[in-house]
């Protein structure tokens, strides 16, 4: 018993907070400062300057576009956003029409790419047998690296002629929906095949194929991170596979779905070459997506940079700045959503 008593005493002694050390005048916590070695100082400087250069490049893009575009913006003022015409030589120019065209093409692209990308991402992450999975992932990633000019070629030489009957069919049966109508200036329905070429619809399909791989891989990554325990829980409660996907995978991957869609939207807004090759440029707002003629900000820049005067170039810079800001906002929102939806990326080996 004495041994046990001694043990208890020791225990209480251990549990007691230790006596604070006697405070002497002027004593402070020791500052944990070390002098970095010469190599470390160089390394820090180099790393900081690399980060600084990256930031500087980005800021320089905005800076130069603003400086160069300021000339045109000060002349045009607010009418820059409301004018549809583009003739800087006569000082009447604005991005209303090209911006509307950009948005139309991007929306058409989203209508095709989002369902296809979501379906493909779910298919790859949930349904396909594991031995095909890595093949499909590589294939989709490879397609994201295919140059945009290749998609443009396909759109120009294959899709253009083959999609016209489809466009005619849609406008024939669904012409009562204003977006699908193809009418002339007097409101008369147009049925001539030449009225259906080079439309925002065709450009949108091509852009959809270009952005779908990116969207697919963002969404697939989000879906595949859905927790295994919850999946198994849903299946163990008697859910079917689609029930499991609907109740576990999709709610978990919703951030990735939204983020992937917006990343694709950002790319669709900025796409140049494929759109340039397909559309026939017009400078009026055309909401009839199946009808010939559309435009986009980037196609406008590619179209007019060569023949422009100094002031015309300034106007193009202003248009580029507007595009830059729009895509920046969209992509920044997207990457925030994606980053927030992801669980911690820390690893411990």
């Amino acid at each position: 018993m004495t041994g046990a008593g001694a043990g208890a005493d020791e225990l209480t002694a251990l549990l007691e907070p230790p006596e604070p050390p006697p405070v002497t005048a002027g004593a402070r916590a020791r500052a944990l400062v070390s002098r970095p070695s010469a190599g470390d100082a160089v390394f820090r400087t180099l790393a900081y300057s690399a980060g600084g250069i990256t930031v500087a490049i980005m800021l320089a893009v905005g800076f130069f576009l603003t400086i160069r575009g300021a000339d045109a913006l000060s002349v045009a003022g607010l009418s820059f956003f409301t004018t549809q015409e583009w003739s800087p030589e006569t000082r009447t120019f604005g991005i209303a029409a090209v911006l509307a065209g950009t948005v139309t093409i991007a929306l058409v692209a989203m209508c095709f790419s989002v369902p296809l990308a979501t379906g493909t991402a779910l298919l790859i992450s949930e349904i396909v047998p594991p031995r095909f999975r890595s093949v499909l992932i590589s294939l989709v990633d490879l397609m994201a690296a295919v140059p945009s000019v290749v998609y443009g070629l396909w759109g120009l030489f294959f899709l253009q002629e083959n999609v016209i009957p489809v466009a005619e069919w849609i406008s024939y049966y669904f012409g009562w929906i204003p977006v699908f109508a193809v009418t002339g200036a007097d409101g008369q329905r147009l049925t001539d095949a030449s009225q259906f070429t080079s439309s925002a619809f065709i450009a949108g399909i091509v852009v959809a194929l270009m952005v779908a791989p990116t969207q697919t891989s963002v969404m697939r990554e989000a879906f595949s991170q859905a927790p295994v325990g919850e999946r198994e829980g849903a299946l163990a409660l008697g859910s079917t596979r689609w029930g499991m996907i609907r109740t576990v995978v999709i709610p978990f991957g919703r951030g990735g779905m939204i983020g992937g869609t917006m990343l694709g939207l950002g790319r669709a807004l900025g796409e140049t070459i494929a759109v340039y090759l397909i559309i026939s440029p017009i400078f009026t707002i055309n909401w009839q997506v199946l009808k010939t003629g559309s435009n986009s900000v980037s196609a406008l820049i590619a179209l007019r940079y060569g023949e422009s005067s100094d002031f015309g170039l300034s106007a193009l810079m202003a248009a580029g700045l507007a595009l830059f800001i729009i895509t920046l906002v969209i992509n920044f929102t997207a990457s925030t959503i994606v980053a927030r939806s992801r669980s911690g990326a820390q690893s411990e080996g």
Binding site: G51, L123, L139, A145, V150, W242, G270
Partner: protein, 441 residues
């Protein structure tokens, strides 16, 4: 009593005794006493055939095939006989829609609503994947197929367009100047991007802090940069301000602006995967920060970094619109990136297909096929090198590492063995004793 029986009795007593009498008192219901724990002996139950948990049952296959046939029949009836609808695409759409409906009905004959939803959604997901992947593969195959006539003329790869006009056949002229231009431009872009991009990623991971978070935000935002805006930027900042002429160097700067964020982001992800305890081990051994980065972090993630660079290259090599504004179109071979226009493959494709001449368009497809094959090659190289996390070694690398480790061991042993035979005096042998116990003392 065998140990098993004791256990069962104790467990049963524990489980039943305390609450069996109290239960009826609580809610007035008398419940049967909980059954005793039953442990099946191996061999009690006959083992049936293993249940198939993968693959489709024959009935599912029948449902799919039957629904497809019925849908095709319905569409044909609608298009050929009952309604004035025409067109192959409309037929396909009607077939697909009626397939979905008929398939749902067929499944519903034998299953409940949840199962129907499961089957129909699976069919929809399969068709979405099939449409997208088939379309993507078709786009690439279309370009390669149409480019074939130009590619079989081997002069495409050695001649330039300087000697060939729009009306010349494919056996004259080629895209050698564009291939050379592409390689020069991408080399310059890589020379800037690789050090800068990897250093930025190292900065974000190894130094951190508020500025690093800001850099990460900015480089994320840079991936959003529309390619034509990158071209405009270089045009206004470099061409208008400094050089006053289009050049290959300006084009590679524009490509750099496009590639940099891709490389930074990919390298960032790879560096983040390096286990923290490797770094800690290095610091605990007393190495400085840059030695840790140089000798531990970067070698560990080497394969991932190479993949990041190659993926960035594949994207940079195919950029058209930044090059459109900055490099200029030429038919001549120009190997000097600092003066005169220098064309690259994507720009050459763009330039060719704007021509109305069929031979020029064929040349355009040939250049596009070359570009695709180049990207494909890079991608395959990236897959071979990369795709592995940091520290995951191939068999060859593992053998090399084992061999190096043995070398180290031999070196260390040799260093310790040298003084022992040279000096056989007492202090030397005492110091050598722990490491050489077989010393004949």
């Amino acid at each position: 009593m065998t140990p098993d029986e004791t256990l069962t009795t104790v467990l049963a007593a524990d489980a039943v005794a305390p609450d069996a009498p109290t239960r009826p008192a609580l809610d007035g219901w008398s419940r049967p006493v909980a059954p005793r724990t039953f442990r099946p002996q191996p061999g009690d139950d006959p083992i049936g055939p293993p249940r198939r948990i993968r693959g489709a049952a024959a009935e599912d296959a029948f449902n799919v095939v039957g629904a497809l046939g019925a849908a095709a029949a319905v569409a044909t009836l609608l298009f050929g006989w009952f309604t004035p609808m025409t067109g192959a695409v409309g037929w396909a759409v009607v077939t697909y829609l009626s397939f979905v409906v008929i398939y749902a009905l067929l499944v519903a004959l034998r299953a409940d609503a949840q199962e129907v939803a499961d089957r129909v959604m699976t069919a929809l997901l399969y068709s979405a994947g099939a449409i997208l992947i088939a379309a993507l593969v078709f786009v690439v195959c279309f370009a390669v197929f149409r480019g074939f006539p130009a590619l079989v003329n081997l002069n495409s790869f050695v001649q330039t367009m300087a000697s060939a006009g729009p009306l010349d056949p494919l056996s004259v002229g080629g895209i050698a100047h564009a291939i050379v231009g592409t390689l020069i431009q991408i080399s310059i872009a890589l020379a800037i991007t690789v050090p800068l991009g990897i250093a930025t990623a190292v900065f974000m991971n190894e130094i951190g802090g508020r500025f690093a978070r800001f850099v990460r935000t900015i480089s994320d935002a840079m991936t959003a940069l529309p390619s034509i805006v990158a071209g405009l930027f270089v045009y206004s900042a470099v061409i208008q301000l400094i050089t006053h002429e289009r050049s290959g160097f300006a084009a590679s700067l524009a490509i750099t602006v496009m590639m940099l964020p891709i490389v930074i982001r990919a390298a960032d992800v790879v560096l983040r995967l390096v286990p923290a305890n490797l770094r800690e081990a290095s610091y605990a051994l007393g190495s400085s920060r840059w030695r840790t980065v140089w000798h531990v972090v970067l070698p560990t993630s080497r394969s991932g970094l190479v993949t990041a660079v190659i993926l960035g290259t594949a994207r940079g090599i195919g950029e058209t619109s930044p090059v459109l504004l900055t490099s200029g179109v030429t038919a001549y071979l120009n190997v000097n990136p600092f003066s005169g226009p220098m064309i690259s493959l994507p720009l050459q494709v763009f330039d060719f297909v704007k021509s109305p001449e069929p031979t020029m368009i064929a040349r355009g497809f040939g250049a596009a096929a070359t570009l695709i094959l180049l990207v494909l090659l890079l991608f395959i190289v990236a897959r071979i090198i990369g795709g592995k996390g940091p520290g995951q070694l191939s068999d060859r690398q593992r053998r090399a590492r084992v061999a190096r480790s043995h070398d180290d061991l031999r070196r260390i042993e040799a260093r310790h063995r040298v003084p022992a035979p040279a000096d056989d005096s007492a202090p030397a042998s005492a110091s050598a004793a722990p490491s050489a116990p077989k010393d004949p003392q």
